[in-house]
Amino acid sequence: MRFKSLALVAALVLGLATSAFAGEKITIKGSTTVLPIMQKAVEAYMQKHPDVTIEVSGGGSSNGIKALLDGSTDIAMASRKMKDKEIKLAAEKGIKANEIVVAFDAVVPIVNPANPVTNLTADQLKGIYEGKITNWKEVGGNDAPIVVISRDTSSGTYETWEGKIMHKARVFPGALLQASSGAVLQAVAKNPKAIAYDGLGYVNDSVHAVSVDGIAGSAESAKNNTYKVARSLQIYTNGAPSGAAKGLVDFILSSEGQKIVEETGFIKM
């Protein structure tokens, strides 16, 4: 149920500006996690094909899939797979949901390079973020309090973390909040007692990535599903895409499109 209002306005303006060409028109709706990739891809695609009008808006994965099922969008973006219930509903409506994975997203726990901890279990991470584990020595580190850093609740990174690690439990209110991936890195790089999580694409040498249940987050482990805090990002179309929609999908899967995926901090196919 999320929605980048600014993005929508921008997309609408873009849509209005190009509608004068009155070519083919595509609407895209859904996950705000996929939205940054889609926006950049659409921008690049429309520059090459000025006759195509594409409207992109957020709204969240569920809304995107709902819109695909009721026919109000051509392409649905989703940061999760379609649920059985949704697939069944689609079949009832005579819609053949066609899944195309466009990128992977992995979120890795990070600590300061001075911190000796290199591996944590998913349960330990959950305990730390619930505020139940408060000292590094409880998880094999130094005798020092754990400074828990989290992201703002409306970010896609938080959503992944919440879904894969927290499982409905709440992040305790004493957790520090940073509003961007860059700020998270900065805070961890400056604090030996801190732990945070960040998109794999953002992690650099200023911090140490911690493996989860013994498996390090990487493009490989995210793709072959062994790494726990990862998910695929996909789009759904009704049947195989055709016309301009096919052109756009092909563009996203092309090396140029996948470069955009990497630039936005995600893992390319």
Binding site: R2, F3, T153, S154, G174, Q186, A187, K190, N191, K193
Partner: protein, 297 residues
């Protein structure tokens, strides 16, 4: 048809009124928008639950919208930064207006005012990258991104406001008062403490309140250095999340016209009411200041 002087006068009068009125209109429209977007949250949560609620989990299902930790954070940060900024600001003002030689004054004053020109994001970055690790090191605390750090940074920003308005107030104390005091045998310090300061007290109060208003509404600095934990602070080294930080961090991606979106606007309403209160207080003191003069003392 020749325009009479009277018509010309009326036209000028009218156009100036229209220009003045437009800024009031804009202010009114912004307020209206703020309330239209903020009030719907009270269909979901009652006013007392919103203002005095302890838990802020806007994206959970069911969601909790309690902003008491944010209100407490805003007030404690503003209070602590005032403790630092008021003595600094007023003492600088006294030095500039009463003690410094004209030459020294012409050097120091531009520097103090330059502090005001520093973008808040620069001050925030300084707090995050330089001050936070130092605080961690010196006080051996878990994190340097906390209330104390934010207060120091906010004090930096409030000092120029407090100094320049206080200095004007002190400077405008009529010289007759100083001369009378010195003639009665008081020394320079006694004159400043017992004559000049009391005479400019209302002006200094205005300065202090405007400085505090700046602190409570400041966004970038608290977003970057206050830590952002949504809990009521128990120590000055606790991370806190003042209201502006909460709004700025979450607004960009809150679903348009969802409960979360409304709750953030309602937080903005609460913040607006507080800053309005500060401004009314400042206006009240500024009005009183008009009474100060040779004739009334």
């Amino acid at each position: 048809m020749p325009i009479t002087r009277r018509t010309k006068d009326n036209i000028i009068h009218g156009s100036f009124f229209a220009i003045a009125a437009s800024s009031i209109l804009v202010l009114f429209l912004i307020m209206l928008f703020l309330f239209i977007e903020g009030l719907p949250i009270f269909k979901v949560v009652s006013v007392p639950d919103f203002v005095f609620g302890n838990a802020w989990y806007p994206t959970d299902d069911p969601a909790d919208f309690g902003i008491l930790p944010m209100i407490a954070a805003s007030f404690s940060v503003t209070f602590l930064s005032s403790l630092l900024a008021i003595p600094l600001g007023i003492m600088t003002a006294i030095y500039l207006a009463e003690i410094a030689s004209p030459r020294m004054r012409s050097i120091v004053k531009p520097f103090v005012e330059m502090l005001q020109a520093l973008p808040s994001v620069v001050i925030g970055f300084f707090g995050m990258v330089v001050v936070a690790p130092l605080l961690q090191h010196w006080f051996d605390i878990p994190t340097g991104l906390n209330m104390f750090n934010a207060s120091i940074m906010l004090a930096f920003m409030a000092v120029p406001t407090i100094t320049s308005i206080s200095e004007d107030a002190i400077f405008s104390v009529p010289n007759e008062l100083r001369e009378a005091s010195l003639a009665l045998g008081a020394n320079k310090w006694q004159t400043i403490a017992n004559v000049v300061l009391p005479a400019s007290l209302t002006g200094i109060s205005t300065a202090v309140i405007l400085g505090m208003a700046r602190s409570i509404g400041e966004t970038m600095v608290v977003l970057m250095v206050a830590g952002g934990a949504a809990m009521i602070p128990t120590s000055i080294f606790n991370p806190v999340r003042p209201m502006p930080a909460s709004i700025a961090a979450e607004m960009a991606e809150a679903p348009f016209q969802s409960d979360h979106y409304y709750a953030l606007f309602a937080t903005g309403m609460v913040l607006f009411l507080f800053t309005l209160m500060f401004n009314i207080l400042a206006a009240y003191f500024a009005e009183k200041k008009k009474q100060v003069g040779v004739a009334t003392l």
